[in-house]
C-alpha cells in the first residue's frame, strides 16, 4: 500500500517506460535505469522493444524505440503489463505508447519535440499537449528537455548538435529524481565508456544527468517521489544479465566443465547476433569463432569441429533454423554432439524480426526428413539461459546428439538480476572418447545412455567413416531393412533415455493436484508464475508447471497432468505445446494463444485462468 514517508511515497513496484526515436538513445537510458535499480537492491525485469529498421526516418511512428523496466521490493518476474510512468521524447513515441498508459499514469513529455513537422510525422493534426482531456486523464509533466539540456551544457565545448543529443540523460536524471534512484552506476558508466576517449562527452552527459535530477527538486509537478525497498533475495553476489549474455557465459562454462575447446560458428541474425559477438570477444578462453557464409555453413563447420571432438555450437533464429534442417538430420544420424541455439522471433519467414514469439517448437521437433528425434530444451528466463547452456552441453556430450536450445527475443534482450554461481559448484561434464587400446565399433552403445562411442581423428588405430547413409553397428553402410528399423529405433530410444536423467518436475502450487494446472514453457514463465501467484494469494486453487525439457518430456509429466481437472497451456504461438501434449498423453488441454509479437500480460493470463476454472 502506498504510504508517505518523508517526502517519498513507499511503493512495492513500479513500471517505467522510456520511448523516443530510435536515434534518441532510449535503450541506453533504459539500461542505465535498470542498472541503477538493480544496484539499489530492487528486483528487476526489462523489455527492450525496438523497430526492425536501424534508422527509420527520424520522428516517424516506424522509428519509435522503447524500453520498459519493472522494479520492485518483491520478486519481479515480468517487465510489467503497463507502465506507471511513460517518458515520451517525441509525438510519435507518444502516439504509439499512450494507449498502454493507464489513466492517472505519469506522462513525461519533451515539449521541444512537439513542433509542426514532428506532429505531422506522427499523424497528429493538432498538438495533443493542448488537449485538455490529456491533462485530465494523466499526470502530465511537460519539460523542454532539448533546451534545458542546451542550457545546462552552455559551458561545454561540444557542438550544439552533440549537446542536444545529451537530452536522453537529462530525462533519465529527472526520472532518477522521481524514483529516488542513485546516480552512481550511471556516472561510472559515463567514465568507463567515454572518460578516456571522449572526456568532453562524459562530462556533458554527467552535467545533463545531474541537471535533470536537480530539475526534479525545483519542479512543482514532480513533488511526488516514490521509494521502493530492497527486494528480499538470497545473500550472495549479483549482477544484471541478459539472456544472450547468460548463454555466452554458459557455453564457455560448459566448455570448461567438459574440458573441451569451444568452437562456435554463426551467421548474423536478430536476435542471435550478440552470441557470435560475445563469444568472439572471449578468445582468451580458447574459444574459436567463425562468422560463416550462411547458417548452413555455420552448422557444417560446427559439425566438422564436433567430429574432431570439440564442444561445437551454433546459434540462430527461425529463418536460420530452416536452413540448418538438413545438417541437423546429418548430426542426428552420425550421432555427434552439437548445441543449436534458436533465439526465436516472430515468424513465418522474416515475420516480425524484432518482436517476440515462441513459435518454433514444432519446427524443432519435426522439421527434418525421416524419423530424427532431437532433444529440445527451452530457457525460461534471461539468467536461466546460463543453466540451459550447461544442460544442453550435458545432453549433447553424454548422449552424442545434436540438442536444440530454445530461447527467445524477449529473454535474449531482457535482463534480470542473477545470483552469480560459484565456478566450483558447476557440474562436471567430462565424457571420455573411445579408448585407442580397444577395438573400435562405431555404433557400439553405452547400455544405460544408448550413446555411441565417439573416436576422434588423430587417435591411432580408430580410423572410421561416418556419414549420412544408414550404417550398421560396425559403421559399414547398410541398406538392410531390419538394420534400418533397428537403428531408427535406437536413435529414438536414445533420445527418450535422456528423460531418465532428469530431476523430478516442480509444480508451483498444489503438488497433489487440483482444479487447474497452467502448463508453460520458455519465456512465458514470468507472466504465468505471476498470474498464478496472484490468484493463489486470492485463494484460487490454481497451480503451474514450467517445462524445460520439451523432448523428451520428463517421465513424471503424465502423472502430474492427470492429477488436475483442467490443463491450460498459454503460448505465444498457435498452440504448439498443446498439440504435443494432446497427441502424447491424449489429454484435451485448453490452449491459449497470443501472436502479437508481445509477451503475455499478467492480467490477460489471470483473466483466462479465471475463465477456464469458472
Amino acid at each position: 500500500m502506498a504510504q508517505a514517508k518523508d517526502s517519498f511515497i513507499e511503493i512495492e513496484s513500479a513500471v517505467v517506460r522510456f520511448a523516443g526515436d530510435s536515434g534518441d538513445g532510449m535503450q541506453t537510458v533504459g539500461e542505465r535505469f535498470t542498472d541503477s535499480s538493480a544496484f539499489a537492491g530492487n528486483d528487476i525485469a526489462t523489455l527492450p522493444d525496438f523497430p526492425a529498421e536501424i534508422r527509420a526516418p527520424a520522428g516517424t511512428l516506424a522509428g519509435v524505440s522503447g524500453f520498459q523496466v519493472q522494479f520492485g521490493s518483491r520478486e519481479i518476474l515480468t517487465p510489467g503489463d503497463a507502465p506507471d510512468a511513460l517518458v515520451a521524447m517525441n509525438p510519435a513515441a507518444l502516439k504509439s505508447n499512450l494507449p498502454d498508459l493507464p489513466a492517472g499514469g505519469m506522462l513525461v513529455v519533451n515539449t521541444a519535440a512537439f513542433k509542426k513537422m514532428n506532429l505531422a510525422k506522427a499523424d497528429y493534426e493538432t498538438n495533443p499537449l493542448e488537449d485538455e482531456d490529456l491533462r485530465k486523464k494523466y499526470h502530465l509533466v511537460e519539460i523542454d528537455f532539448t533546451n534545458m539540456t542546451k542550457e545546462a551544457l552552455a559551458e561545454s565545448p561540444l557542438k550544439p548538435t552533440d549537446k542536444a543529443r545529451c537530452k536522453n540523460f537529462f530525462a533519465l536524471g529527472f526520472m532518477y529524481y522521481v524514483y529516488g534512484r542513485p546516480l552512481d552506476t550511471t556516472l561510472k558508466f559515463f567514465q568507463d565508456k567515454w572518460g578516456k576517449r571522449l572526456p568532453d562527452l562524459a562530462e556533458a552527459n554527467t552535467l545533463a544527468l545531474k541537471a535533470g535530477f536537480n530539475l526534479g527538486d525545483t519542479m512543482e509537478s514532480a513533488r511526488n517521489r516514490y521509494q521502493i525497498a530492497k527486494a528480499p533475495v538470497d545473500a550472495g553476489v549479483y549482477r544484471k544479465i541478459s539472456g544472450n549474455e547468460a548463454l555466452v557465459y554458459g557455453l564457455v562454462a560448459a566448455s570448461k566443465q567438459a574440458k573441451l575447446e569451444l568452437l562456435y560458428a554463426g551467421y548474423p541474425i536478430t536476435p542471435a547476433s550478440p552470441i557470435l559477438e560475445g563469444l568472439s570477444a572471449l578468445k582468451h578462453f580458447g574459444v574459436k569463432t567463425i562468422q560463416a557464409e550462411d547458417e548452413i555453413a555455420a552448422m557444417g563447420m560446427a559439425l566438422g569441429a564436433s567430429f574432431t571432438g570439440k564442444l561445437s555450437v551454433c546459434a540462430t533464429s527461425g529463418p536460420g533454423m530452416c536452413l540448418k534442417s538438413e545438417f541437423i538430420g546429418l548430426a542426428s544420424i552420425t550421432e555427434l554432439p552439437l548445441i543449436i541455439c534458436n533465439i526465436q522471433r516472430g515468424g513465418p519467414s522474416t515475420g516480425l524480426p524484432t518482436k517476440n514469439e515462441q513459435s518454433d517448437l514444432l519446427q524443432s521437433m519435426f522439421s527434418r526428413n525421416g524419423d530424427s528425434p532431437i532433444p529440445i530444451i527451452a530457457a525460461h528466463s534471461s539468467s536461466d539461459c546460463f543453466d540451459c547452456a550447461i544442460e544442453a552441453a550435458r545432453i549433447a556430450i553424454t548422449y552424442k546428439t545434436p540438442v536444440i536450445l530454445l530461447s527467445d527475443l524477449y529473454i535474449a534482450n531482457g535482463a534480470e538480476p542473477w545470483l552469480i554461481p560459484n565456478v566450483s559448484d558447476l557440474p562436471d561434464l567430462e565424457v571420455p572418447f573411445a579408448d585407442p587400446n580397444e577395438d573400435y565399433v562405431v555404433y557400439k552403445r553405452d547400455p544405460s545412455t544408448l550413446a555411441r562411442d565417439q573416436a576422434i581423428p588423430g587417435q591411432i588405430g580408430l580410423e572410421h567413416r561416418i556419414g549420412g547413409l544408414e550404417k550398421n553397428e560396425e559403421g559399414g553402410v547398410s541398406y538392410d531393412p531390419n538394420n534400418h528399423e533397428e537403428m531408427t529405433r535406437l536413435r529414438g530410444d536414445k533420445v527418450n533415455a535422456i528423460a531418465d536423467s532428469l530431476p523430478p518436475s516442480k509444480v508451483f502450487g498444489d503438488v497433489e493436484g487440483g482444479d487447474l494446472l497452467v502448463l508453460g514453457w520458455g519465456g512465458t514463465y514470468g507472466a504465468i508464475t505471476s498470474a498464478v501467484r496472484n490468484l493463489r494469494t486470492e485463494g484460487f486453487p490454481v497451480s503451474s508447471l514450467h517445462l524445460r525439457n520439451l523432448n523428451p518430456f520428463p517421465h513424471d509429466l503424465c502423472n502430474i497432468l492427470s492429477k488436475f481437472k483442467k490443463v491450460l497451456i498459454p503460448e505465444l504461438n498457435m498452440g504448439q505445446l498443446s498439440l504435443l501434449i494432446r497427441s502424447k498423453y491424449l489429454i484435451d488441454v485448453v490452449s491459449y494463444s497470443k501472436v502479437q509479437g508481445q509477451p503475455f500480460k499478467v492480467a490477460e493470463l489471470s483473466n483466462k485462468i479465471l475463465e477456464t476454472i469458472r
Binding site: 550472495g236 549479483y238 564457455v252 578468445k283 560463416a292 546429418l330 581423428p457 588423430g458
Partner: protein
C-alpha cells in the same frame, strides 16, 4: 597396443589406405583411378595415417571416404567445404582432403566452395569433373557444354557452363591445378604438390562417367588426341605441346595463339614461359581459358601463391594473442563482471 605408423618411420603403403568395404562405383568408372592415385599418394606424404581426414559431399564421387581407410566424413550435398573448414580450424594438425563433384561443388555447393577458397584453410579440394550428375542418373551439370542432351534436357541444355578453374581463380585461390583420371603419374604428382601447398589447394580432375557421359574428355585426354590436345605445364619451361613438340602458345596483345616452332621464324623464346608463382592473376586466367578445340587443354599447376596466411593459423594466432594480452580466461571473473553487487 596400437602404434603410430608414419610415412617415414614404418613405411606406410597403399594397402594401409584401402578400406575393408567393397567399392561400389560402376565398373570402368574414372573414380577408381583417382582412388588408386590417392591411395598411392598418401603413404608418400610423411603424414601419420591417423591424421588424414577425407570429407565429401554427395554424389558418386563423394562416396570416396568410404573407400579410404582413414577418418572420413560423407556429409550432405554441396556442404563438404563447411565441414572441412570446421575440421581444419578445430584441429589444424589434421591433413584434410575434400572430395566433391561438378554438381556438388559448383551447383548446390558453389557458395561454400567460394568461401572455402577465399578463407584459404589448408584443405586439399579434389573436384571430380565428369560434366554430368552421375548419382542421380545422368542429368546435365553446371559444367556440361551448352546443348548437352540429357534426360532433363532432351533438346539440349541452354545454360552457359562454369569453368571450375576460372571460378577458383575468381575466388583468388592460392593453388589451382588440373589433372586427369587417365594419367596416374600426373595425378600423384599433382596431389603431392597440393599437399605441399599451405592453403586451400583446388584441383580439377577430368573424370569419366562411363555410364552417363562416357568419353566426355576423350577429345582432350584420349590416346589419339592427348599429344595434340593436352598441354603439360612445367615450371620455368615454355608452353610447348604436340606429338613432335613443335607447337606452342604465344600471346599476341592480350590474346593467346597457337604457333608452330620454326615456322615464320617462331622460336621457343617467343612462347609463354610457365610461371605458377606470379601473383598477377592474368596469366593463370589466360591458361584456364585455353579450351578444346581451339587450344590444347593445360594440365598441371596453374597457380601456387605462397605467403597468404591459412585461415586456421590466423584463428589460432588470434587466440594466442588474446591469451597473451588478457591472460588465460578466468571463468569466475567473467561471470562476476565489473558491475556486480553484494546482498548480505
Amino acid at each position: 597396443m596400437k602404434t603410430a605408423v608414419t610415412g617415414e618411420e614404418n613405411a606406410l603403403n597403399k594397402k594401409d589406405f584401402v578400406a575393408p568395404n567393397d567399392v561400389r562405383w560402376c565398373p570402368g568408372c574414372g573414380d577408381y583411378a583417382i582412388l588408386n592415385a590417392i591411395q598411392r599418394t598418401f603413404p608418400e606424404l610423411g603424414v601419420p595415417k591417423e591424421k588424414f581426414v577425407v570429407v565429401s559431399g554427395i554424389g558418386c564421387s563423394s562416396r570416396f571416404p568410404y573407400y579410404m581407410n582413414t577418418y572420413g566424413f560423407h556429409t550432405i550435398h554441396g556442404r563438404a567445404p563447411t565441414v572441412a573448414t570446421g575440421v581444419k580450424v578445430a584441429n589444424p594438425e589434421l591433413s584434410v582432403w575434400m572430395v566433391t563433384g561438378d554438381g556438388d561443388g559448383l551447383s548446390i555447393g558453389g557458395n561454400h566452395l567460394l568461401h572455402l577458397i577465399r578463407r584459404n584453410p589448408d584443405v586439399n579440394v579434389l573436384l571430380f569433373n565428369n560434366r554430368i550428375y552421375g548419382l542421380t542418373k545422368g542429368q546435365y551439370s553446371p559444367t556440361s557444354e551448352v546443348g548437352k542432351k540429357t534426360k532433363s534436357t532432351p533438346v539440349g541444355s541452354v545454360d552457359y557452363p562454369v569453368n571450375p578453374l576460372l571460378f577458383a581463380l575468381g575466388s583468388e585461390s592460392t593453388f589451382v591445378a588440373r589433372t586427369s583420371d587417365t594419367d596416374m603419374k600426373h595425378m600423384v604428382e599433382t596431389f603431392k604438390a597440393a599437399h605441399a601447398h599451405k592453403g586451400t589447394s583446388f584441383i580439377e580432375i577430368f573424370q569419366n562417367c562411363v555410364i552417363y557421359n562416357n568419353k566426355t574428355w576423350e577429345p582432350v585426354t584420349g590416346r589419339e588426341s592427348k599429344s595434340e590436345q593436352s598441354l603439360f605445364l612445367e615450371e620455368g619451361k615454355p608452353l610447348v605441346f604436340g606429338a613432335e613438340r613443335n607447337k606452342g602458345i604465344r600471346v599476341n596483345g592480350f590474346d593467346p595463339e597457337v604457333v608452330t616452332l620454326s615456322e615464320n621464324g617462331v622460336s621457343e623464346s617467343d612462347l609463354l614461359v610457365h610461371n605458377s608463382k606470379t601473383s598477377n592473376p592474368a596469366y593463370p586466367t589466360l591458361l584456364s581459358q585455353l579450351n578444346y578445340p581451339t587450344f590444347p587443354t593445360p594440365f598441371g599447376v596453374f597457380r601456387q601463391l605462397e605467403g597468404r596466411q591459412t585461415y586456421e593459423s590466423a584463428v589460432d594466432q588470434q587466440v594466442a594473442a588474446s591469451k597473451s594480452k588478457q591472460g588465460e580466461g578466468d571463468l569466475q571473473a567473467l561471470l562476476t563482471g565489473s558491475d556486480s553487487w553484494v546482498v548480505e
